[in-house]
Amino acid sequence: MSIDVNARYAESHEYARLEGAAVVCGISDHAQAELGDIVFIELPAVGKSLKKGETFGTVESVKAASDLYMPISGTIAEVNGALQADPALVNREPYGAGWLVKITPADLSEMDKLMDAKTYGKTIGEE
């Protein structure tokens, strides 16, 4: 299972990666593997402000629907439109083309409260 060393991780398996002024958010490779084939993704409207831990969308796999939680507080700056036609991008490239939303962070220091790659790796049983 791959872990993006440049990202930080929430306990609910979302990652947050600072790119310029925005934070790119998706779900980890471990999370996509646990969910199985992803067949539908519901994402929020651009401009929506959400607090850390609030639901920002839903990812539906063959097996079940799972809520997505904001890893940090902020405003939705962009959503990944490519996922409407090809939700399985999240399975194939969770850290790349399968990103979910870009967030304009409300308080960048919240990133420090997320796990780094090494700590996250331990929580999912990988060193």
Binding site: D37, V39, F40, E60, V62
Partner: protein, 348 residues
């Protein structure tokens, strides 16, 4: 892995459910379905007994015919669905795993002194080989050729020196068959099918429960506990075609009463925009009033649609009727559609 009727069954193999579905539609899928039960009915009274027990027409059945049927109670409710095979001098009845014990008890309770019922479920293994290349694969590795058999008939064949009862039947909407054979050969036959598929360049892969469900769903086949169950009668589920009203069978009078009064609800297909419908979700009319409930729902990989089967009030059952499916509190646009979404191979 998931517990299923006392068996540990893979929901999907490492291939993944969506790809497993696609492989079965384009080449060959192997289904480890040993959990299915098999009963044999023999004796001088077998024909009359089976005719009374099952809903389907049996009077015209002779070896080597096989047919889909329902097992109903006196109220016309669906205890199970079955495949019945007329063997040389007996009836072979294939039942669902979850209902095996209860079905056997039902058959025994209605037994006449001139029949014998044997439960072969533990001694018999069952593998389904399904897909457009399934018959070609079996012809190459076994004998005699199964391509000589018509759809919904059976034959006795040998593969890798294993004696097999082969039914040209299935549960995917594709051509292919179902193999019944002594359980001790299960692993050997399973591996032989996979190895020969690879050797002959015929893509052949194991298929899990999730793809088994999406394949049958697209092809309009019911799953007991969903489209049919002990609280659903055969008429509202749309199975009048599987009932022979020319004969006497358990549940017949109740079904005639339902037909005369008109069913209070009907099974329909519903296509949804903007979400994945699932079992238990409510269906509403355009005014928001609840008119039914989904009994199954999923993403359908071949037709690329999000669809449900639902029981709705008869006024909403016509194809083209706009409805809503409530997904996590949000009413999503939906429309009643014709079933099946995918025309099975035997109807093409």
């Amino acid at each position: 892995m998931a517990p299923f009727a006392g068996y540990d069954m893979p929901i999907s193999y490492p291939t993944g459910a969506v790809e497993e579905h696609a492989i079965t539609r384009r080449s060959v899928g192997l289904f480890d379905i040993d959990h299915m039960g098999q009963f044999e009915v023999t004796g001088p009274g077998a024909d009359a007994y089976v005719a009374r027990m099952v809903s389907a027409k049996t009077s015209d059945m002779q070896a080597p015919m096989a047919r889909y049927s329902l097992l109903l109670d006196d109220r016309g409710l669906v205890l199970d669905d079955l495949f019945i095979y007329k063997l040389e001098s007996s009836w072979w009845i294939v039942v669902n795993a979850s209902n095996r014990e209860q079905d056997l008890a039902w058959f025994m309770a209605h037994k006449t002194p001139d029949v014998t019922i044997i439960d072969h479920s533990d001694a018999t293994y069952m593998i389904a080989v399904q897909g457009p290349n399934a018959i070609a694969l079996l012809d190459k590795i076994g004998a005699p050729a199964v391509s000589a058999l018509e759809r919904f008939t059976w034959g006795r064949i040998k593969i890798n020196s294993i004696d097999i009862l082969f039914g040209r039947t299935g549960y995917t909407g594709e051509d292919g068959g179902e193999l019944f054979f002594p359980a001790e050969h299960a692993e050997r036959l399973w591996n032989f099918l996979l190895e020969k598929g690879a050797e002959l360049g015929i893509e052949t892969m194991p298929i899990g429960l999730a793809a088994r469900d999406s394949l049958r769903f697209e092809a309009g086949m019911p799953l007991h506990g969903h489209e049919i169950s002990q609280s659903i009668n055969a008429i509202e589920a749309g199975f009048k075609w599987a009932c022979d009203f020319e004969k006497d069978f358990i549940g017949k009078q109740a079904l005639l009463d339902v037909i005369a009064a008109g069913p209070s609800r009907k099974l329909v297909g519903i296509e949804v925009t903007g979400g994945v419908p699932r079992e238990g979700y409510e269906v509403a009319g355009s005014d928001g009033a609840i008119i039914g409930r989904c009994v199954a729902g999923m993403y359908c990989p071949t037709v690329k649609k999000y669809a449900a089967n639902a029981f709705v009030e008869p006024a909403f059952a016509k194809a083209g009727t706009p409805v809503k499916v409530i997904i996590r509190g949000q009413p999503k646009d939906a429309v009643v559609v014709k079933r099946p979404l995918y025309i099975p191979a035997y109807r093409r």
